[in-house]
């Protein structure tokens, strides 16, 4: 907490902007996980509620001749109201069905908005979008990134607190029941549809807050916020973090958007890495990255630190080696398939060397390919060895 408050002193303006985006992504993922994790309703179109909140906020900022409907610090309330209202309407439709059909309906609602938005120029500003200004209020100018950061921080922490509080209320408890056994809930006399809509609407509300904060940070909104990629991103972030734990999705989203920011200049394949990580998490660690910590702690408890720590270290090194090998290979292939390289190869009528990580690599040479493959083989071997050792120690404790 103290660290979060001290960040503006420690970071440069660019990194502080990234921190603002991380906070917003964290809130969005937490709002999403209320629905997907706790209520067990998978939504693939959450960009809709984020986007509606964003556009409502941008219109509120431009209202009354540019003075704004509310003072700037209270603007996300407009996003919240819009997210809630749209969440109630969309949720009423979507929760008519459960499970798989629900997932498809949420996707279709988001696509409906995405295809409608560029047509409605007055409401969504067409291709160019709508821009607005942060007005000074309460003695702050909101001109510097630092002030925007603190505003975002306060709103995100407040929202997370409220979301956590929601898990403690009877309504929040019943949300869990929706996931576990909705038939039984109905049998006990609860209105399941009403409960589902309320969970949906609350999720929409906090997504709207996140959208509003994004507009406050960027001073603009574009129909791109309805892009399916936004919906996909929040699903990936939440599950990579782990929806089973309250802070899991927030941590996952913060981590992913930090990496997205950090590597955006060096690689074009970041989304691919994110997708691969997501599939790996889904297949081998269903509890998410947060669950990894618990699993490691459980091993240490069962085997004792002296035997567990070397094993865990071996796992870690194997994972790093495999990652390095895979990244190397993917980046190499990416460079080879890029348009610039193809043009260069066609021009020279031969295969020119590839520049990657401050070195040049001959395409036809064996060593170029031996590096990534060697890393992969080494990592795989170490992983198999660690696995074998683990089995052996568990069989003969």
């Amino acid at each position: 907490m103290a660290l979060l408050a001290a960040l503006p002193v420690l970071l440069s303006a660019g990194l502080l902007n990234a921190a603002v985006q991380m906070l917003i992504a964290a809130l969005f993922a937490s709002a999403y996980s209320l629905l997907a994790g706790r209520a067990g309703m998978l939504s693939f179109g959450h960009a809709a509620y984020f986007g509606v909140g964003a556009f409502a906020t941008v219109h509120a900022m431009n209202a009354l001749g540019g003075n704004g409907l509310l003072p700037t610090p209270l603007m996300p309330l407009v996003g919240a109201a819009a997210g809630l209202a749209f969440g109630v309407v969309a949720g009423w439709f979507a929760t008519q069905r459960s499970g798989t059909a629900f997932a498809m309906i949420t996707l279709a609602i988001a696509e409906l908005l995405h295809s409608l938005a560029p047509q409605l120029k007055g409401l969504f500003g067409g291709e160019s979008g709508i821009s607005a200004m942060r007005m000074p209020a309460w003695g702050f100018t909101f001109g510097s990134t630092t002030q925007v950061y603190y505003l975002t921080l306060v709103w995100v922490l407040l929202s997370l607190l409220l979301l956590h509080f929601h898990t403690r209320t009877p309504a929040g408890r019943l949300t869990l029941g929706l996931r576990e056994n909705s038939h039984r809930l109905r049998f006990l006399g609860y209105d399941v549809h009403l409960l589902s809509v309320s969970a949906f609407a609350i999720s929409g509300l906090f997504s709207g807050v996140a959208g509003g904060l994004q507009v406050l940070a960027n001073e603009a909104a574009n129909y791109v916020v309805f892009d399916p990629g936004v919906s996909a991103g929040v699903v990936l972030n939440s599950y990579i973090g782990g929806v089973g734990v309250f802070l899991g999705p927030a941590l996952g989203a913060a981590l992913m958007s930090f990496f997205g920011y950090a590597v955006s200049d060096t690689t074009q394949a970041w989304l691919l890495y994110q997708g691969v990580l997501f599939v790996l998490v889904m297949m081998f660690m269903p509890q998410g990255l947060v669950g990894l910590w618990d699993a490691a702690a459980a091993r240490v408890r069962r085997l004792g630190a002296a035997r567990a720590v070397p094993l865990l270290l071996a796992w870690l090194i194997a994972a790093l080696l495999l990652t390095a090998g895979a990244v190397f290979l993917i980046e190499l292939v990416q460079r080879l398939c890029s348009q610039e390289y193809r043009a260069l190869a066609a021009q020279a009528d031969a295969l020119p060397p590839v520049t990657l990580w401050k070195g040049t690599w001959e395409v036809a040479s064996v060593t170029t390919w031996a590096w990534p493959l060697g890393l992969l083989a080494l990592g795989g071997g170490l992983l198999a060895f660690a696995h074998q050792q683990l089995k052996a120690t568990e069989e003969h404790p």
């Binding site: 067990g40 998978l42 693939f44 439709f93 008519q96 069905r97 499970g99 798989t100 059909a101 997932a103 498809m104 309906i105 996707l107 279709a108 609602i109 696509e111 409906l112 295809s115 409608l116 047509q119 409605l120 007055g122 409401l123 399916p228 996909a232 699903v235 990936l236 599950y239 074009q268 394949a269 989304l271 691919l272 994110q274 997708g275 691969v276 997501f278 599939v279 889904m282 297949m283 269903p286 993917i330 292939v333 990416q334 398939c337 890029s338 348009q339």
Partner: protein
């Protein structure tokens, strides 16, 4: 009149194409209860495989090989990915296929670039089939419709007239019983998944040449296919057919209508009011064509939540 006939024909053929993709999806759903989010990715894979192989093998053979390759990828996905997470439940399987579709799209962007590739109808098939009122009708469209119909007939015969069909259909209803009778149900599942993927791949290989082949094509058709199966009823092959044709006709006819809601309101004398309100009321129906299927879906959900021909809730 001619224009109407042409848009009707276009609508039916687009509908048949949608059915080709949604048939596999709804078949797999009926059998395993898994909604395969990556299903439309097989459609895209089919198009890209055919595009890559076209230079090597010629168009016809490339389409066949692309179909087989898409089917093989589908079988691999079932065997090595879905089966591993089966015990975690359906939601988990849905998420896994979602991740896989993401990976496929990103890999294609990586290998072929994030823009449409130049995959075109071969010159031999690029003629017109007939002309009506001075307008030419492309031969290739008829060919697409023909392939879809032949495929549908083969699928129908396979499911209803052969031993394999009997086993597949019984495995949908009583997998345990079929297993007890000595059939390898796991293998049947893998086979059905592979065949579904191959059908989608075939549709992609053929349609990709006519429409655009780009990394976004999976998402575009995928969303439409989801609308089809929700409207038709999950797991119902007949419903998928009906809904595909309905949506094909709806989008194709709407493109030709140059009217807006304001014109409709003119009948009750509220045109000025509608034009003053603007926004949705003055938008031409033709520019709303892509949003109509979603509106239809919401309407169906409102009136008949289980879908037009669905019985599962």
């Amino acid at each position: 009149m001619d224009t109407l006939l042409f848009s009707l024909l276009n609508g039916v053929i687009y509908g048949l194409l949608l059915f080709m993709v949604s048939a596999g999806l709804t078949l797999v759903f009926g059998m395993m209860g898994v909604l395969n989010f990556a299903h439309a990715s097989f459609y895209m894979l089919g198009a890209y495989f055919a595009y890559t192989l076209q230079g090597l093998l010629g168009f016809g053979l490339a389409v066949v090989v692309a179909t087989l390759l898409a089917g093989a990828v589908g079988a691999v996905v079932e065997r090595f990915f879905l089966r591993r997470v089966h015990h975690h439940g359906h939601a988990h399987e849905l998420l896994l296929t979602f991740g896989l579709s993401f990976i496929v799209a990103e890999t294609i962007k990586l290998l072929f670039g994030n823009f449409p590739v130049n995959y075109q109808v071969p010159a031999m098939l690029d003629g017109s089939a007939f002309s009506l009122g001075g307008q030419q009708y492309p031969l290739y469209r008829l060919l697409m419709g023909g392939v879809a119909l032949v495929m549908f007939a083969l699928l129908y015969l396979l499911l209803t007239r052969t031993r394999v069909g009997i086993i597949v259909r019984s495995a949908i209803y009583r997998p345990r019983m079929v297993e007890a009778l000595g059939h390898n149900v796991q293998f049947v599942f893998m086979g059905v998944f592979g065949v579904g993927a191959a059908l989608a791949g075939l549709a992609g290989a053929i349609a990709g040449a006519f429409y655009t082949t780009s990394p976004n094509m999976a998402l575009e058709i995928g969303v439409m296919v989801f609308v089809v199966v929700v409207v038709g009823g999950l797991g119902s092959l007949g419903g998928a057919m009906l809904a595909s044709l309905l949506i094909g006709l709806l989008t194709s006819l709407a493109v030709g209508i140059d009217r807006s809601l304001a014109d409709l309101l003119a009948f009750v004398g509220a045109k000025e009011w509608a034009q003053a309100v603007g926004g949705l009321l003055t938008l031409k129906l033709s520019s709303l064509a892509s949003t109509l299927p979603f509106a239809l879906m919401l309407l169906v959900l409102l009136l008949r939540p289980q879908g037009l021909m669905g019985d599962k809730t």
